[in-house]
């Protein structure tokens, strides 16, 4: 007979507690510091006086680390991801027009949705719009040099800019930074917070940069170099570079049925 008895009670309530998956405590995967530059990297001279010398205290993630600020589209303006237009006064900025796009992923390969990505850079001549930058290359009146975006549901982000120029800096007397764009990324918990720099495929300054070469692992260094992505370029308009960013993975399942960031 097919008539079901009325469900007076969820039968699951009578079952014993099931064995939980072994990865549900919400903590982040331990950071592999061999992939990161050490705090004290004497070839990058500024790090010598600014690097802690005591061992870091390893901290099992608490609620303070697995939570972090949540951002939304209300935090951004409509031109925030368009560095060609967001500071334009009387025309477009000078330089090679480029699109930068990619995904923010975690170490499990999942996209990190609705997370804030911020970026800043020098102009095409290698000069920053900053009161402390005194390099002789000129300020571009139509270029601010910063922007931001929220990733979509799949972790994808994109913005438009001009390719930054290399510039000299005081480390050795003839030190030059390769062309680069600074990135700041949040993730879902404060322990994922990351600042890094994106470099451009084929730049001959990459192997001689005292900052880039603080990274001890060759593959980790290569992962900061964005390849030219002709398929994503806009014909007769802009070239494109692809830059994926990986944040720490999370042993999180217990709030998975709620959309992160909402």
């Amino acid at each position: 007979m097919n008539v079901q008895a009325p469900a007076l009670q969820d039968p699951r309530l009578n079952r014993p507690e099931p064995f939980a998956p072994p990865h549900g405590d919400g903590g982040f995967f331990q950071r592999d510091r061999s992939m990161h530059p050490p705090a004290h990297a004497p070839g990058y001279k500024s790090s010598v006086l600014r690097s802690p010398r005591q061992a870091l205290l390893s901290l099992e993630n608490t609620v303070s680390e697995i939570t972090g600020p949540v951002f939304g589209h209300n935090d951004l303006g409509p031109l925030d991801n368009d560095l060609i237009r967001n500071y334009a006064k009387d025309g477009d900025p000078v330089g090679e027009r480029i699109i930068v796009h990619g995904r923010v992923l975690d170490e499990t390969g999942r996209g990190v949705p609705n997370t804030l990505v911020e970026f800043w850079q020098a102009n095409a001549g290698g000069r920053y719009r900053h009161k402390k930058d005194t390099y002789l290359a000129p300020i571009d009146p139509n270029f601010g040099g910063c922007g931001r975006a929220l990733t979509d549901d799949t972790g994808y982000y994109y913005f438009r800019t001009v390719k930054p120029g290399p510039y000299p800096w005081r480390n050795y007397v003839n030190s030059w930074r390769p062309a680069h764009i600074h990135f700041s990324v949040f993730g879902s918990g404060f322990a994922q917070r990351l600042i890094t720099q994106m470099y451009f495929e084929g730049d001959p300054l990459i192997p001689v940069c005292p900052i880039l070469t603080t990274i001890p692992d060759k593959d980790a260094l290569d992962r900061l170099v964005a390849p030219l992505d002709l398929n994503a370029s806009t014909p007769f308009d802009s070239l494109a570079y692809r830059f994926d960013i990986v944040l720490r993975g999370q042993r999180s399942t217990y709030f998975e049925n709620r959309t992160e960031g909402n």
């Binding site: 609620v63 170490e107 719009r129 960013i245």
Partner: protein
């Protein structure tokens, strides 16, 4: 060969550099670009709890203040609740209080200031009570990977003494590097802190 695990690797950190303000606090770099800006003011007019000022400096190995450092703080509200879905504790959530802010140090004095509310005690997922604290993240030229530390409050002696994280710090004499000192100035409650990157008073930094 066993099956491959196929985890991705975290992207390597790079220094925020001397011009971090352009991207994160453009007004400090000397220009106005975004309609909406993030700031060091966490408290809104409706925020519950005691209004406080957090004020301090980050010192290098010679004891000189960093004048190009950027700090971000992340904290619970006065009820001890973080504004994030992973905090399932019972304290009342205040939608308006994000609990996060960022500040650049003054280009001359190196002073860093936040205006916020004093967070409540946190209940961890295991039910432990944790002393009120603010989580701090520090980036600057010469800092290759962001530094994580915490600020506790000098007038919370009993809960500090029982705090499971403070109690991990050995030798115990280093615990005081995480405690901000309360005072009152012109009717405002000010908690002062010093973050020493090096030296005998080096601040405790965490690998979170």
């Amino acid at each position: 060969m066993p099956q491959p695990l196929n985890y991705l690797k975290e992207t390597a950190s790079q220094t925020a550099g001397p011009y971090v303000h352009i991207g994160l606090i453009p007004a400090m770099a000397g220009f106005d670009i975004f309609e909406k800006n993030f700031s060091n003011m966490l408290a809104t007019p409706n925020s519950q709890g005691e209004r406080i000022v957090l004020e301090g400096k980050v010192l290098d190995g010679t004891g000189s203040p960093l004048r190009d450092v950027l700090l971000e703080i992340w904290q619970a509200n006065a009820a001890g609740r973080y504004n994030h879905p992973a905090d399932r504790s019972a304290g009342a959530l205040e939608e308006e209080f994000r609990g996060w802010g960022r500040a650049g140090s003054d280009f001359d004095s190196g002073l860093v200031t936040f205006e916020t509310i004093k967070p409540g005690a946190i209940t961890d997922k295991t039910g432990r009570k944790c002393a009120p604290h603010v989580n701090v993240w520090i980036v600057a030229r010469g800092i290759n990977i962001g530094l994580n530390t915490r600020l506790y409050f000098s007038d919370e002696e009993a809960s500090n003494a029982a705090d499971p994280v403070l109690n991990l710090v050995e030798p115990a004499v280093r615990r005081k590097t995480l405690i901000a000192t309360r005072s009152e100035r012109a009717g405002k409650v000010v908690y002062s802190f010093t973050i020493n990157l090096q030296g005998p008073e080096e601040t405790v930094f965490f690998d979170v």
